[in-house]
Structures are given as C-alpha cells and as structure tokens.
C-alpha cells in the first residue's frame, strides 16, 4: 500500500481558497490581503517542509482525489523532486509577498494583485504535485493566465505590449502541450502519468514518443524561455511590477518549463541519448546567447531578464548531462537561481522604488544612500557570477565538474566562458548602479521601508549560506533525494501503480 498523505492537495487548495477569500473580503481594508497572503504562503512553506520530511521517512506518496482508484481518478504524487520544487516555490513566494507589502503601496487594486498572485502559486503547485497529464495542462494554464494578467498589472503602454506578446507566445506553447497530450491519450487511452508510462513501455514504439516529445519540448521550452523560444521573456519580465518579475524569473519559468520537462520526459516518455544531447545543446545555446545579449543592456531589469535565460541554460545543461551529479547540480542551481534572481529583481525594484529609474546610466553611487539594498545586490550579483563562497559558485562548479566527468569538455569550457562573461555584466550593475560618486540628483534618496529590507536581507542571507546545503546531512535531505527521482525515471510509474 502506497503511503498517502492529506497534505498533498492542500498545496493547491489553500492558495486557491486564499485567493478567493481575498477577492471576497479584501477590497476595503489593507490588512486582510496582506495578512492573508503572508499566512497562506507561510503555511505553504510549513507544508512543504512536512512534505520533504515525510518523503525522506516513507518514500513516494500518492493522493487519490475523491478516493477514486488510480488510473481513473486524478492522482497527486509526492516524490523527492516534487517536495524540493514545492519548497522552492513556497519560499520564494513568501519572501516576495513580504517585499510587496510595502512595494505595492503605490498601485491601486492591491487585492487583485494578491488574488492573482495566489492563483499563480496555486497553478504552479498544481503543476508540481499532479500525476495526471491533463491536470498538468489545466494547472499550467491557471498559472499562465494569472501571470499574463500580472505582467499587464500596471496597464501602461509597455506593460500591455509585453503582456500581449507573452500571452500569445504562452498560449501557443500551451496549445503544443495540449496537442501532445491529446496525441498521447489517443495512443495510450489513459491520462494518468504512471499508467501512460507503462502503456508506452509495453507498446515499445518510439515513434509516438518521438513526435509527442518534440511537441512537448516545444511547448515547455516556450514556457521556460530556452533560446530559440526566448523572445517574450526580456519584454515580459521587466515590464511586470518588481515582485512579479521576481516570481516569474525566480520560479514560474522553472515550475512550468524546467520542472514540466523533467517530469514529462524522465517519468513518462523516457529519455533517449538524443534527447539528452538536445537538452544539453539547448542549454549551452541559451547560456551563451543569454549572456551575450545581457552584456549590451542598460536597463537593469532587462539585463536581469537576459541573465535568467542564460542561467536556465545552465540548469538544462546539468539535466542533460544525465549523471547523478549532473542532476543534483542542476537542482541546486535551480534553487540558487530562484533565490538570487528573486533577490536581484527585488533589489532592482527597491532601486526603482527609491529613485524611479531603472536605467543604469542614470544611476550612480546609490550604495552610499541605500546601504542594505546595495549589500544585498552585491551578494546576489556575486552569487550569479559564481564567486566563492556564494551559493551560485558551488552549483556552477558542480555543473562544470559533472560535464567534465561525463566527457563533455566543450560544454564545460563554454560554461566557464559564459560564467566569466556573467561576471562582467554583474560588475556593470555594481559599478554603474551602486559604486562610484553619488550624483546630486540622488542626494535625497532614502533607503526603502523595513519590510522590503527584511525580504532582501533574508534572500541575501540564503545566497551567502546556500553553499552549506552541500554539507553531508543537508545534501541528503534537500538535494540527493530530489535528484534520485531522475535516476528512478520511468520506473517510478510501476512503483506508483504497483502500490495502489
């Protein structure tokens, strides 16, 4: 009997209920939306820690919705990768909410912001926990539609344009995913991921898996902004309000893109050497194109958006390498990227809050007036560039080591070069933005409010101490058991169904 746990559906139900409760009650007051959002996301962190603990004690959990038996009803699955992703999403969501309590003061319609935000979190958690193909698509769309609306939240010219572009690209991506799911359903007559994996193994035909694999990869790569499909990201992410940029770059592209690719290919379709090679090539191309385009940006948030594309490339490379070390490094980098990219976007939001600009040429010497923001940005930048002892260094090092061990020397060299170029663009942020002489027009700039500082400080602390997760005890609990999901691969299916 597979262990079951009532905590799994709560990851979807709690943010959904929170979102609609805010829509119902939160229009007049300020306390209810803020407090409710904090409580919900804080609760999610607690749930995800419980989930991780339960996984390490009892192994894979499933949850049958409405108590329907497995291949017929919708099943939710909790394994190591799921627990890891849930923790990442909840942690970033909580810190971002903490930041936006002060930041969103400027905007009207805060309750709408929190409603959409929690809907997006519910969608992401749904994508992560579900064990059903069509359910994956539904939650994908819930998260995506909420994020389109959040990009357009300010309803200024650029935001609308970026949101339209993002909505068109995102919808096309979803259509590819839906088409592939229909195709798989017509072939296997089931939607349960585990059942589908077994049916595909039994049929033994790789042609359907190949066609649908291409469609799914296209769809999810559009969501993850891997390079040939990246055009929407540098518009959409900078245009959103800063907390949303942090959520989109920090976790949305990973939950909807990278995680979905991992889940679908490693647990359902199965991985061939060609696919691994394709993932690695896509990763390397994203990495280098992203970093080269980031070098010539003057808009702070746009620069960070290109940097996201480049860092997603590292994660894809790590996953494509296919050794246990590669998976672990990729997941560690995924977590680190969530933390430092949220930190950098929130920091750019803090700068925009204080000065009203995000053009690097107009800034200068802000470090003198905004000490904590500047220190937090520094630690985030060092982490993204991979300077020891910041967390980003360890994960990049592990990815490069994994590439060398597996014999992909060229990819390792490109990764090292991209990492150096990364250093040069983050140094530009620090040099033009925070160091140097203070300009007269910024003499009156003041440090941001306490809540924003708290959020930035916590994220910076995680950036600095993140390397400690590699210590033996923490690594086993946090990373290795998540990485093991990949090695289990499609065997997971027989375990899930076998236990039911």
């Amino acid at each position: 009997m597979m262990p079951t746990s009532p905590v799994i559906p709560l990851f979807v139900a709690v943010p959904l209920a929170g979102a609609f409760a805010i829509a119902l009650l939160g229009k007049k007051t300020r306390i209810i939306p803020n407090g409710m959002a904090l409580i919900v996301t804080g609760g999610l962190i607690a749930f995800s820690i419980i989930a991780m603990r339960m996984f390490s004690l009892f192994g894979v959990h499933t949850y049958k919705l409405g108590a329907w038996p497995a291949p017929f009803g919708i099943v939710m699955v909790l394994d190591g990768l799921t627990a890891f992703m849930l923790f990442t999403v909840s942690l970033i969501a909580f810190l971002v909410i903490l930041f936006s309590i002060s930041y969103m003061e400027r905007y009207s319609g805060r309750w709408q912001f929190y409603t959409l935000f929690l809907l997006m979190v519910a969608g992401m958690n749904g994508v992560i926990v579900t064990g059903d193909m069509f359910n994956l698509f539904v939650f994908l769309e819930v998260a995506a539609v909420a994020s389109y609306a959040l990009v357009a939240f300010g309803t200024e010219k650029h935001e609308l344009e970026a949101a339209f572009k993002y909505a068109v690209m995102g919808s096309v991506g979803s259509l590819f995913v839906l088409l592939a799911i229909v195709w798989l359903y017509s072939y296997t007559s089931t939607l349960n991921m585990a059942d589908m994996a077994l049916a595909l193994q039994a049929a033994g035909s790789t042609r359907v898996a190949l066609v649908t694999g291409v469609l799914l990869l296209t769809g999810f790569a559009l969501k993850a902004a891997i390079v040939p499909f990246h055009a929407w990201l540098p518009d959409a992410h900078p245009s959103a309000p800063a907390p949303i940029s942090a959520m989109l770059s920090g976790v949305l592209i990973k939950a909807l893109g990278v995680y979905a690719i991992c889940r679908v290919f490693y647990s359902v379709l199965g991985v061939s050497p060609q696919l691994s090679m394709l993932l690695m090539v896509l990763g390397v191309v994203s990495m280098s194109v992203g970093v080269l385009l980031a070098l010539r940006q003057w808009d702070l948030k746009r620069l960070l958006a290109y940097s996201s594309i480049s860092q997603i490339g590292y994660i894809m490379l790590g996953i494509g390498i296919g050794t246990p070390l590669g998976f672990m490094a990729a997941l560690f980098h995924l977590f680190n990227h969530s933390v430092f990219k949220s930190l950098l976007f929130l920091g750019s939001g803090a700068v925009e809050y204080a000065t009203g600009t995000r053009d690097l040429r107009e800034m200068g010497g802000l470090g003198k007036r905004m000490k904590l923001t500047s220190a937090a940005m520094l630690s985030g930048s060092m982490s993204v560039a991979g300077i020891p002892p910041f967390a980003g260094f360890w994960s990049k090092l592990l990815i490069i080591v994994a590439a060398v061990q597996a014999g992909y020397y060229w990819f390792a060299i490109i990764a090292v070069v991209a990492s150096m170029l990364t250093l040069s663009y983050v140094m530009r942020i620090m040099r033009y933005g925070f160091l140097g002489e203070l300009r007269e027009k910024w003499a009156g700039v003041r440090e941001v409010p306490f809540m924003m500082k708290l959020s930035l400080g916590l994220l910076a602390l995680i950036c600095i101490l993140g390397g400690l997760l590699l210590l033996p005890g923490a690594r086993e609990f946090f990373l290795t058991q998540a990485a093991r999901t990949f090695s289990v691969g499609t065997q997971l299916a027989s375990r899930i169904l076998g236990g039911v």
Binding site: P6, A17, F20, A23
Partner: protein, 150 residues
C-alpha cells in the same frame, strides 16, 4: 416615450426581451440543477444565466442590467462560487479526503441524488454566470470609455 431618454434598443426588442429573459434565466437554472441527470451542468447553465443578463444589458442598456446584478455584486458572487467549490472539496477531508463525495448518493435519475455533484454544479454556475457577465461588461464598458476619450 421619447427615444433620447430611453437607452437601449427599440420597443420591439424590449418587449420581446421582457417576455423571454425570465424564461432564459429559468432554463439556465434548469440546466444547472439537472446537470447530473442530463447533458449540461454548472458551466453550460452558468453560461445561459450569464447570457440572460447580457440579453438584458443589450436590450435595455447597462443601467437596467446593473440594477439586477451590479458589478461589485457580480464579483462577490464569483468569489462566493469559487469558495463554495473549494469548500465542498475541503469538507471531503472529514470523510475519505479531498473532493470525496460524502453525501448519500440516492437513487439514480432522481433530482436529489449523486451526492455533492449538484452542489458543485451550483457553485460552478455561480462562478461562471457572474464571471462571464463581468467579462462582458468589462469589455463593453472598456470600449465605451476608450471611444469617449478620442
């Protein structure tokens, strides 16, 4: 009855609307409540309910339609519908879990049967009806605001 003071369409349309709008609403409610027995259900019925309100708005103009269901009222109903749905799902925890059908199933083909499914249908119809109505008014009145500016 001068035309200027009366927003909306001509007298013929208004009279027909007066006669039909109640029937449309009733049909929507029928589709919702019989969702577990016949084709249809919460979504289809909700759309019909929303269309009856949209019908009212087209024939008589926005003011009359808002007297029936105001914009904020629609938003409240929408949130209540969604909360009801999630609430029904969560109550299932008291029995076997999330979304568990905890009510007695009754005999098939009775109006009061199938456990929580009719309740879910009603919650969905609230959500869809109010939601679709607010989508339509949002788009229509956005356009009005836009064209006034130019």
């Amino acid at each position: 009855m001068s035309k200027e003071r009366q927003p909306g369409m001509t007298l013929i349309v208004k009279t027909v609307t007066r006669l039909t709008v109640g029937l449309i609403l009733l049909y929507g409610i029928y589709v919702v409540t019989h969702g577990h027995l016949t084709p249809g259900g919460g979504f289809a019925g909700g759309v019909v309910i929303a269309l009856s309100l949209v019908h009212l708005m087209l024939a008589f103009g926005g003011d009359v339609a808002f007297k029936t269901l105001s914009k904020s009222g629609a938003a409240v109903l929408e949130a209540i519908g969604a909360l009801l749905f999630v609430g029904i799902a969560i109550i299932g925890f008291g029995w076997a879990g999330f979304f568990f059908n905890f009510l007695p199933k009754g005999t098939p083909f009775d109006l009061f049967s199938a456990g929580i499914i009719p309740l879910c249908n009603i919650a969905i119809s609230l959500k869809v009806g109010a939601g679709l109505f607010s989508v339509v008014i949002a788009i229509v009145f956005l356009r009005v605001a836009g064209s006034e500016r130019e």
